[in-house]
Amino acid sequence: MQPKLTAKVRCADKEVGRVSKVIVDPISHEVSHLVVCESNGHGNERQVPMSHVREVLNEEEILLGCSSNEFIQFPAIDRDQYVTIKEVEIAHLEDHLHVEPGEILVPLPTLEQGVPRRTFFNNMTHAIGTLIALPLVFPVLKYLMKPMYKPFDNAWFSVGNVKRVKKENIGYQFKFTRGFKEAFMPEQNIEKNIWVVKATPEVQKAVYEGKDKKFHDDAGDVVWVNKRNSPYIGFSGKCPHLGCGYKWRRTKNFPDGVFLCPCHLSIYDEAGKVLDGPAPRALDVLPLDVNAAGEMKIIDVEYKAGVKNQIRLL
């Protein structure tokens, strides 16, 4: 039974006062003390631990297990040491705390009683929301997708002369600049690089596996063929692992030199084959054309990194 907040408090010998406040333990969420306002005219408020409550006689009366002389030994409450639950937020405090007068009720407005159309209104509200949002989905997606898919650029760019490539089976870096036009921006020049290897017949075989390599445009038509016995091989400067720029390095384990990517330590031989590291495929061979004077031209093909097969992006 829950005592009312104004219940009378009796000791074995006589009535001593009324409950005026309750103190709740913030950890256990249980009532720890009753605050009893003395009925002797002074109105002192004493803090009575719940362990001294012998019995809740009824809603109106509480019986303590001490005498009235012992009762006046209980400490008076120091109000400054407490806050009301309006001043502090203790999670779930009210969940199992039932202090009379209990639930405070307000009448439900007449118009809200048994509204049969609540569900109907709810559904219509959602329907209108959907009606506003849905037609925007497609235009917004199309709007955002505008620059995402571009046709492949099959233009040729000069990268330099093969005279620089003196030794066989060694990587030489060639830098080139290309024009780049994006959306409303004026055309800009960007610098890129490729790696060129003068391949011995064995390396040519390792790269081309005895077959000519064809390059295709968007429509699938062949735009260029690298002959299987051409000595100069151009590798895209983009590491096929995750797109970093790799270098030609001589290391302790590979004194003749290898392509080494500094990011995740993928290692490729002079034919571009993966020797070690996380790369999923060999270095990407570019469409390369060398004229009689030894001038090299490439198509700036770029493939998606991190996948086993070559998927062309540019």
Binding site: L111, F121, M124, G129, P139, V140, K146, A183
Partner: protein
């Protein structure tokens, strides 16, 4: 232990998730508190303006964010990137035009909302703070319009800003500083675009969100004012909750406003003029329509000269705003019925007719310029 499998299965997975979150967050209580707000005297179409404003603002945020995917706030790319949005990007013209017409709709709705609150006497005690925060929000909406206007960097944008900043410059003491601060120098240029851009997309939205939150918090704290007529018993009999009837009306109003803005975007899509340059050429500078009355005011003879200009551009609008701010403190009578507040009713009519007359005369004046 198989206690009672049937009752356990009655809850769907979704309900279980909802319960899980609810136990930790108290969502159901929150939702109930938000939806079950009693509306004294019942729901009304006149109460939809605030919700509609919030709705327009949310869509302005959405369309604004989308525009920023392409827009570049620089003197050499602002115009080109805006043209790119209009002519190249799929549905770009629509999103830009929606954003443009949305701003006009916002101003119209602010006027409607303020008028409703004024006519209903809902600014009176204990709702003074809601009114004051609302006035600040009105200022922010106008500032949104002003700063956003420059961003396309066409002639219209450039000249509206030149004139607007010149007006601000006439504020005593702070004017010169404010004008230089906004322009980022003595004349408009790259610094101006950067500043207007950051004000338009960062400072104003953040401020508006904060103040709108405060506005709604204060509103819920005070409770809706309800109609200005009716005995307590009549009001009680008509009272219902915010959900479902008021939300339903709000939704219908939002959908209508959405359709109107979409139609305007289709019928009158944004077309840019020439790229901005300090030579106006054949262009006759003019601000956006909701600033036209102020613009026309400054053409009057009495507002000529340095002092007249100060009077028309700063003192009168400033005094008017100050009067609006002081309104709930000056008008302390409890009477809310507009038909028993003749001064309030007449002032409202005079101001609305005045704004209308000045706006119309500014439009008529265009004829003489061609």
């Amino acid at each position: 232990m198989n206690e009672n499998p049937e009752t356990a299965n009655q809850q769907s997975a979704f309900e279980k998730v909802v319960d899980f979150v609810d136990q930790r967050v108290g969502l159901k209580t929150l939702q109930a508190k938000m939806l079950n707000e009693p509306v004294p005297g019942g729901s009304r179409w006149a109460y939809t303006f605030g919700s509609v404003l919030l709705f327009i603002f949310i869509l302005q945020v959405v369309t604004g964010i989308l525009l920023m995917f392409y827009y570049v706030p620089s003197t050499d790319h602002a115009y080109a990137s805006t043209q790119y949005i209009i002519h190249e990007v799929d549905y770009g013209w629509f999103l830009l035009s929606y954003h443009f017409w949305g701003s006009s709709a916002m101003v119209v709705m602010v006027f409607a909302h303020m008028s409703q609150v004024f006519l209903w006497g809902a600014y009176k005690k204990p709702r003074e703070l809601i009114w004051l925060v609302g006035l600040a929000l009105f200022g922010i909406v106008m500032a949104f319009g002003f700063t956003g206007y420059l961003l396309p960097w066409d002639q219209r944008a450039y000249w509206a800003t030149v004139v607007g900043v010149e007006i601000m410059d006439k504020t005593p003491l702070l004017g010169d500083f404010m004008a230089r601060f906004l322009k980022g120098g003595p004349t408009p240029g790259q610094m101006t675009i950067s500043r207007f851009f950051v004000i338009h997309v960062m400072i104003l939205p953040a401020t508006l969100m904060g103040l709108a939150g405060l506005h709604i918090f204060l509103f819920r704290k005070a409770g809706p004012a309800g109609p200005f007529r009716g005995t307590p018993d009549e009001l009680k009999a008509k009272t219902d909750y915010f959900f479902p009837r008021q939300i339903w009306k709000d939704m219908v109003a939002m959908a209508s406003v959405f359709l109107i803005i979409c139609s305007l975007a289709f019928v009158e899509p944004v077309v840019l003029l020439e790229e901005a340059t300090p030579d106006p050429g054949d262009y006759h500078p003019e601000p956006e329509w909701y600033f036209l009355f102020l613009f026309q005011l400054l053409r009057l003879k009495m507002f000529g000269g340095e002092f007249g200009q100060f009077l028309g551009a700063i003192a009168i609008p400033g005094a008017f705003m100050a009067l609006l701010a002081a309104l709930p403190f000056l008008d302390t009578s409890k009477e809310r019925d507009i038909f028993k507040r003749p001064i309030a009713l007449i002032s409202w009519i005079v101001i609305m007719v005045g704004i209308l007359l000045f706006t119309v005369s500014a439009i008529i004046n265009r004829e003489f310029l061609h």
